[in-house]
């Protein structure tokens, strides 16, 4: 299938307005005749569900949580970008667009990114009107801070809990529509299949996680806002339930999966402490505004620090290497995430890492504390410092934080056109679930921006174009495709329960995560990827022979839920490896060791790889087919990224 991005023609700055004029509209009186399913209630889902209901559509919203407020958007810390230029520091829509395209290492679609920058300003207004308590200056106006990959101060924040405050804002808008009866909310309901009728998405199959009941739901269109797939790696900063099942089920029904190998390894996370570890905790990137990243200058000093012979705070200035400041004087500690992560890994590979494992670098606040005060630092980052101390039992006001990169975000996801529609007509993907705006690397404070842009401002306009061409006749679950999909879901549950093997879903997940981290993580090479591909195929086979789940499908059964998600991760993991093998270049978070500059930076190959890799499912255990969307750059010049 030829991939048509449907990006409008014409000057960049006029595309979105022109497109909004050209899309078909649904008559206000007819909107109530259309049902829309929204899966996921994070920033992208809750904002979409609320906004679509406000327009008059009947919305059915789904979450596997006990409440829509628990989606993992809630854990986002640092902030949300917007091109308000409140700081008079030279920001503009074009600059935010440019920074995002460059930060993504020129692997995203210009038209989408420009639109994102345009609507970013509306997001702030919307959230303020909802009562989101952003940080403010003494004069009563909104405060900003700077974030990695940018030289202007455009990040709006609510202490270290911006995601929480934005999500609670979207949740309140959603709650209002639930109260009005315009949204029917289904909690504790997990999507286990997408129903396609005559080539159009017409509904979903869910499992009630309390009763185990399998249900079918019909609608005129389906929006997936189901987040990213970082938990393929087992250990990540994602929440425990985050999974790829909704996106993967849609993929197997015909939605192409784009750039699966583009995963973001975040530089500032609390290091792994033991085998029992269930997840990793992020320390917000905003900390790099005031914290300085360093390791001991020599291996010998690093060893003394590791052995607790010298306290890090007692290491003399001359014995420290502030490696980001040294290598990237222009951006210093604020280089983009992929660059910061790779450099931390390099320091540890050189034997200069700290902590008892040697897999950590320091993030040091002593200078800012000296320059201002511990209280001032606490005002900005208090909750993060407290969290760090709870987890590590170390006081970051006195002793520098230990940090290490960890999987944080997935830039890849379901392929969508400019309307956010997947390759299945009537099926849309928003937020982290799609691939659209971040290219090969996402800049800090841009995930919240994209989730809310998609949900509040893009999908409410673009979905009408599809619905207007769909007859406003009631939809039902009578079509045999619903019964068939439901039977498939039930058969899979039965199969998982019937294996009665010896290894738990978590054991398989850990093993997969280890393979992905070692061979498809911060650095990749063809040999390692080929090895991982074979190992994953083997592991998947073992899973279906040896996984152990007890109990039944007609009850709350968390091990069964987990087994289903791990089964999907085992398939997606292999596709990620395939994608990483196909892309014989380095770009953003995808660092192939064979393709590096002399200075060890990512070396792109724009002549051969300036495309979106959109993978098409062709059948169980069949190789997926690669479709390409060539990326056209009319407004930015492709250059080697430089943050020096």
């Amino acid at each position: 299938m030829a991939l048509n991005s449907k990006a409008p023609e014409g000057p960049l700055a006029e595309k979105w307005d022109k497109h909004k004029f050209n899309v078909k509209l649904v008559n206000p009186a007819n909107k109530r005749k259309y049902d829309v399913i929204v899966v996921g209630t994070g920033l992208a889902g809750a904002s979409a569900a609320a906004s679509l209901a406000e327009l008059g559509y009947n919305v059915k919203a789904f979450t596997y949580h006990d409440s829509p407020r628990r989606a993992h958007s809630i854990a986002a810390q640092g902030g949300v970008n917007a091109a308000k230029n409140y700081q008079n520091d030279g920001d503009s829509v074009f600059r935010l667009f440019y920074d995002t395209i460059k930060g993504g290492d020129y692997r995203s679609r210009e038209a989408n990114v420009y639109r994102l920058a345009q609507v970013s300003v509306n997001i702030i207004d919307q959230c303020v009107a909802q009562g989101v308590p952003f940080a403010r200056e003494y004069g009563g106006l909104l405060a900003n801070r700077s974030f990695g990959g940018a030289q202007v101060s455009r990040t709006f924040y609510a202490r270290g809990q911006t995601g929480q405050q934005l999500l609670l804002g979207a949740y309140s808008a959603l709650s209002r529509q639930i109260a009005y009866g315009k949204v029917k909310m289904y909690t504790r309901s997990e999507l286990l299949d997408v129903v396609v009728v005559d080539g159009q998405a017409r509904g979903i199959v869910t499992r009630n996680l309390i009763t185990g009941e399998t249900q079918t739901h019909a609608a005129h269109a389906v929006v997936l806002a189901t987040g990213g797939y970082g938990n393929v790696f087992y250990l990540s900063t994602n929440a425990m339930y985050c999974n790829a099942t909704a996106a993967w089920r849609a993929h197997k029904k015909g939605a192409y999966f784009a750039n699966p190998c583009f995963t973001q390894i975040h530089p500032t996370c609390i290091p792994v402490s033991g085998d029992y570890q269930s997840k990793l905790t992020l320390m917000s990137e905003s900390l790099r505004n005031d914290g300085r990243v360093w390791v001991p200058k020599t291996k010998e000093m690093a060893e003394r620090v590791r052995n607790n012979e010298v306290k890090p705070q007692d290491v003399q200035e001359d014995d420290r290497d502030y490696f980001l400041e040294r290598k990237y004087p222009a951006f210093g500690n604020l280089v983009p995430r992929d660059v910061a992560s790779r450099n931390a890994k390099q320091m540890c590979d050189e034997g200069r890492g700290v902590g008892s494992t040697g897999l950590a670098v320091y993030l040091d606040f002593s200078e800012i504390i000296k320059r201002t005060s511990a209280e001032a630092v606490s005002q900005k980052y208090g909750n993060l410092f407290a969290m760090y101390e709870k987890i590590t039992d170390e006081n970051p006001y006195e002793r520098p934080m230990r940090i290490y990169p960890a999987v944080h975000y997935t830039m890849g996801g379901l392929w969508v056109d400019y309307n956010l529609q997947t390759t299945i007509p009537g099926l849309y993907a928003t937020g982290e679930c799609n691939f659209s705006d971040h290219g090969a690397n996402r800049l800090g404070a841009s995930a919240l921006m994209q989730g809310l842009a998609d949900g509040y401002f893009v999908i409410p306009s673009t979905i009408g174009d599809y619905l207007a061409a769909t007859p406003p006749k009631p939809v039902t679950t009578d079509h045999p495709a619903f019964a068939e999909a439901k039977a498939g879901v039930q058969a899979r549950v039965e199969q998982l329960l019937s294996i009665k093997g010896n290894r738990t879903p978590d054991e398989f997940h850990k093993k997969l995560g280890h393979l992905m981290w070692e061979y498809c993580g911060m650095a990749r090479n063809a040999e390692g990827l080929k090895f991982a591909k074979a190992e994953i195929a083997k592991l998947r086979k073992e899973f279906w022979q040896d996984v152990k789940v007890v109990g039944s499908g007609e009850e709350m059964n968390q091990a069964l839920e987990k087994a289903g998600r791990v089964a999907d991760f085992l398939e997606l993991g292999e596709l990620m490896v395939d994608d990483a093998l196909d892309r014989n270049e380095s770009c953003g978070g995808h660092f192939r060791e064979e393709y590096a500059t002399e200075e060890g930076e990512a070396k792109r190959d724009d002549d051969h790889y300036a495309y979106v890799a959109a993978w098409e499912y062709t059948g169980d255990n069949q190789p997926e087919r690669l479709n390409k969307e060539e990326l056209v750059f009319e407004n930015v010049k492709l250059t080697q990224r430089s943050y020096k």
């Binding site: 006990d66 308590p133 909104l142 209002r176 909310m185 039992d393 509040y456």
Partner: protein, 261 residues
């Protein structure tokens, strides 16, 4: 190993865990042993160890709610040794670490106990009553689009900061579990005062407080007797001041209300 405490030794513990197959069935405390627990583990990672062990033995793992394991999503909700989220002040269950316990200790783990929070299974409870209270008025009635510029209405920093403090409630229900009356006053007051403090929320302040309080009563939460266990056990430090603000808002609303119901 984190190296945070090189002298910390693995612990052996006895767990007394509430097991209940579903809402209709009756439940009981069941005793389990867990061994070789690292002090650097979180409480939930300790339960992961128990559950992996149970699964290997072919027994039903203990159901409990959890997700972010960073103390922000509000999913985790365990009543540990008679206290909401356990012994450490200002901490959710997921951020509680085993270094707060000692080798050989017996730990009792129960779900939140409140009529308004029926048990789903084992340690998982149904907190949808909280959602219905928010649906009764915990929002500002603005549609998407057409909102004024974010800097149009200046808000004094101290007011904005106080609204933020109230808005940090994670909706976990620890306040209800800690209260002898199972009252939801702290939860409700946090949302009421966040929006009452901000100019955006003042337009609907009267109807909001009336409707949210009415919904709280319908859901079967108990009355507030101003003892303050809720604030003492709140993992994110929501202040009792919010209850005072709610009472003031509620009285004001009643005095000027057109709502005779």
């Amino acid at each position: 190993m984190a190296g945070s405490n090189p002298n910390a030794k693995p612990m052996n513990l006895t767990l007394r865990v509430w097991r209940q197959p579903n809402h209709q069935a009756s439940g009981q405390i069941v005793e389990y042993k867990v061994n070789e627990i690292s002090p650097d583990m979180s409480f939930l990672e300790m339960l992961d160890v128990l559950n992996e062990d149970l699964l290997h033995k072919g027994q039903d793992p203990v159901a409990f709610d959890h997700d972010c394991r960073e103390g922000i999503c509000g999913s985790c909700a365990l009543f540990i040794n008679g206290r909401s989220h356990g012994p450490e002040k200002g901490t959710t269950t997921c951020q509680l670490h085993m270094r707060k316990f000692s080798d050989g200790e017996t730990i009792t783990i129960e779900p939140w106990r409140a009529n308004a929070f029926p048990v789903n299974k084992d340690l998982s409870v149904d907190r949808s009553a909280f959602d219905r209270i928010i649906q009764a008025g915990g929002y500002v009635s603005v549609n998407t689009g057409g909102t004024p510029d974010g800097n149009e209405i200046p808000i004094p920093k101290d007011i904005s900061d106080r609204a933020f403090e109230a808005a940090t409630c994670i909706g976990c229900g620890a306040c209800v579990a800690a209260c002898k009356n199972a009252s939801a006053m702290l939860f409700v007051s946090a949302k009421v005062s966040q929006l009452a403090l901000l100019p955006q929320g003042q337009v609907e302040a009267q109807t909001r407080v009336e409707n949210m309080v009415a919904r709280m009563d319908i859901e079967g939460f108990g009355a507030c007797s101003n003892i303050g266990s809720c604030a003492a056990e709140c993992p994110v430090g929501i202040s009792l001041e919010n209850i005072a603000i709610l009472n003031r808002e509620f009285l004001t609303a009643k005095v000027v209300s057109n709502n005779m119901a």
